[in-house]
């Protein structure tokens, strides 16, 4: 079992290494530690959101509203900062608001039984619209943000930007959550076999609600990081980013039918897209290729995932039941 798991992520890891090696053959600068750290930092938002999306997908749901949640929380953070609210409160507000927005998705799925795709397709546009209403369509630009607000994600600590450290901490947190806690295991149980989960005393709807709340809270955190790092907030930031997030998960081998996936998969799936995105300008391909490449990667990954089929999903469930 462990062998199969490790080979899946190992394969993806190997593909990423081969890509990096291939690029650095022609452009040696790409493999410099500084540049690789830059790629990691650049991919941080995607990794954070992919982890949130992972727990949602594990429970057989999907969250298409992450990018809109990110943008709304980022705008609120920028506006609060403009009103002179202290930074810790701003960040707490962004995460809290994200959690509330995620909880709204979760409540609609849990209490009203509306299919997640419909709920999040709807809230996606509603959240974007709300950004327009609260910002009156205006941009919040760099000069309207305090230095502390903009500086935090870029601040260096032990050679890495704070944003990278936050990502590393969240990844570590997810490893513990997924592997060591009852909640983490219940995500798998709910997605693997909802009926069986009910019999083992797990509240399916509540677990899905928690997954949405986690995804929303992470989107809120990323909302602050995104706005602070790029020093601009407007209605359309991170537009279409939810597709990249889902792509990262699918590429990382997280089964869209629920019940199967690993933290390493989500992180590597995000890194795969991040490396491509950062490599395109280096090897001289127009950034307009990015969208088609993500799309092909999703389609290819779905095809590859399907070959594993349901058998492994059941194995996972068995091991979850044993634990």
């Amino acid at each position: 079992m462990i062998r199969i798991l490790s080979s899946r992520e190992a394969l993806l890891g190997a593909v990423i290494l081969v890509m990096i090696a291939g690029i650095s053959l022609r452009f040696p600068g790409f493999i410099a530690p500084d540049n690789l750290a830059g790629v990691f930092n650049d991919t941080s938002p995607l990794m954070l959101l992919a982890l949130g999306q992972m727990v949602v997908i594990l429970t057989k749901c999907i969250d298409l509203s992450v990018a809109a949640t990110l943008a709304l929380c980022g705008m609120v953070a920028a506006l609060l900062n403009g009103m002179g609210v202290p930074l810790p409160l701003v960040i707490a507000a962004a995460i809290g608001l994200g959690a509330v927005l995620g909880a709204i998705n979760g409540i609609l799925v849990w209490k009203l039984g509306i299919p997640p795709i419909v709920v999040t397709l709807g809230t996606m546009t509603i959240f974007r619209g709300i950004i327009f209403l609260i910002s009156e369509g205006r941009w919040v630009n760099a000069h309207q943000m305090s230095d502390g607000f903009k500086g935090l994600p870029r601040g260096e600590f032990l050679g890495l930007p704070v944003m990278s450290w936050i990502t590393i901490a969240v990844i570590a947190g997810f490893v513990v959550l997924i592997r060591q806690t009852a909640l983490g295991r219940s995500f798998f149980a709910v997605g693997g076999n909802a009926h069986a989960a009910v019999y083992t005393g797990i509240n399916v709807g509540r677990t899905q609600f928690i997954a949405f709340t986690i995804s929303g809270a992470l989107a809120g955190l990323v909302g602050y990081l995104w706005v602070a790092r790029y020093a601009v907030a407007y209605v359309d930031i991170a537009s279409g980013f939810e597709l990249d997030v889902v792509a990262a998960c699918v590429i990382g081998g997280i089964a869209i039918a629920g019940g199967y996936g690993t933290v390493a998969g989500a992180v590597l799936g995000a890194l795969f897209l991040g490396v491509i995105k950062n490599a395109l300008p280096v090897i001289g391909i127009s950034p307009f290729w990015q969208m088609a490449i993500s799309g092909s990667a999703i389609v290819l990954a779905v095809v590859l995932n399907a070959r594993r089929g349901r058998v492994q999903g059941r194995l996972i469930l068995k091991s979850a039941e044993r634990a």
Binding site: I114, P115, V118, L121, T125, I126, F132, N193, V246, A247
Partner: protein, 330 residues
Amino acid sequence: MSQLQRAAIPDRLNSPLARGLKSWEAMLLVVAIGVFILNSFASPYFLNAWNLSDATFNFTEKAMIAFAMAMLIVAGDIDLSVASIIALASTAMGVATTFGLGTPELVAIGLLVGLACGAFNGALVAGMGLPSIVVTIGTMSLFRGISYIVLGDQAFNQYPPGFAYFGQGYVWWVISFEFALFAVAAVAFWVLLQRTNFGRAVYVIGNNPTAAQFSGIRVARVRFILFLLTGLMSGVAAICLTSRLGATRPSIAYGWELEVVTMVVLGGVSILGGSGTMLGVVLAAFVLGMVTFGFGLLNVPGIVMSIFVGLLLIGVIAVPRMIRMIAKRG
């Protein structure tokens, strides 16, 4: 959609509200008339034949896709790539203009690209048994991505004069070509879904694909055809929209998949498959089109309208369920 989810979320048709659903179309009709009356109060310019004719452009193209999407959703699938198919088909037609091709060739290219995209989705979903949501999220990015590769920040706008007819021409008096096409498509899809064996097969597949297979329906083939149809109708919409705008940018029809799905769901088609009528979708098209037009008359910005569309999408499913929950408790 899996059996499991179906068990967890009972189908509307099987619920005590079955009677209520029968009047769903009636309710939509009331709403459509209400919106119409409100609009006529909102602006003195509303009740004018030419103005009303203009208003129909708000929904005709989306509705043509919604008809095919409705069948797809009744069968338990979904296609989120429709707007991207429009972008790709429109881009292909734009490329064709650079070779100096005439209007008939452009139309053929638009339809063929639509069909090809539908066949690609269908082969992956029906042929390989992959989940339609993820596949079409992928192709949504892929198809529009190809448009971006071809066009970048450029645009095609050298369409031949005859091509303008599809989006700007009038069949008779205020009846635009698009509206006539919409009406013909509405009847054709109504016949296909509700008066043919194929249509019955679609309902059966949506309710229980396994049972459909055992009762001799070629499930994979029917699902493939549905994706082909959706691709084809997206191609038709691409021709109309490109002709109406007279230009192609890669961002053309951005976000339309949401409005098309909203139209279908508002029309009373169960998102879990198995139930819904074409009349409902037609009425929903009118309601959405009139509401959008009314907001436009009141100078409401597009993004605020999209809040309304999102609320409508969720509300249409949520409100009946909330009423049912309250009724159960009370």
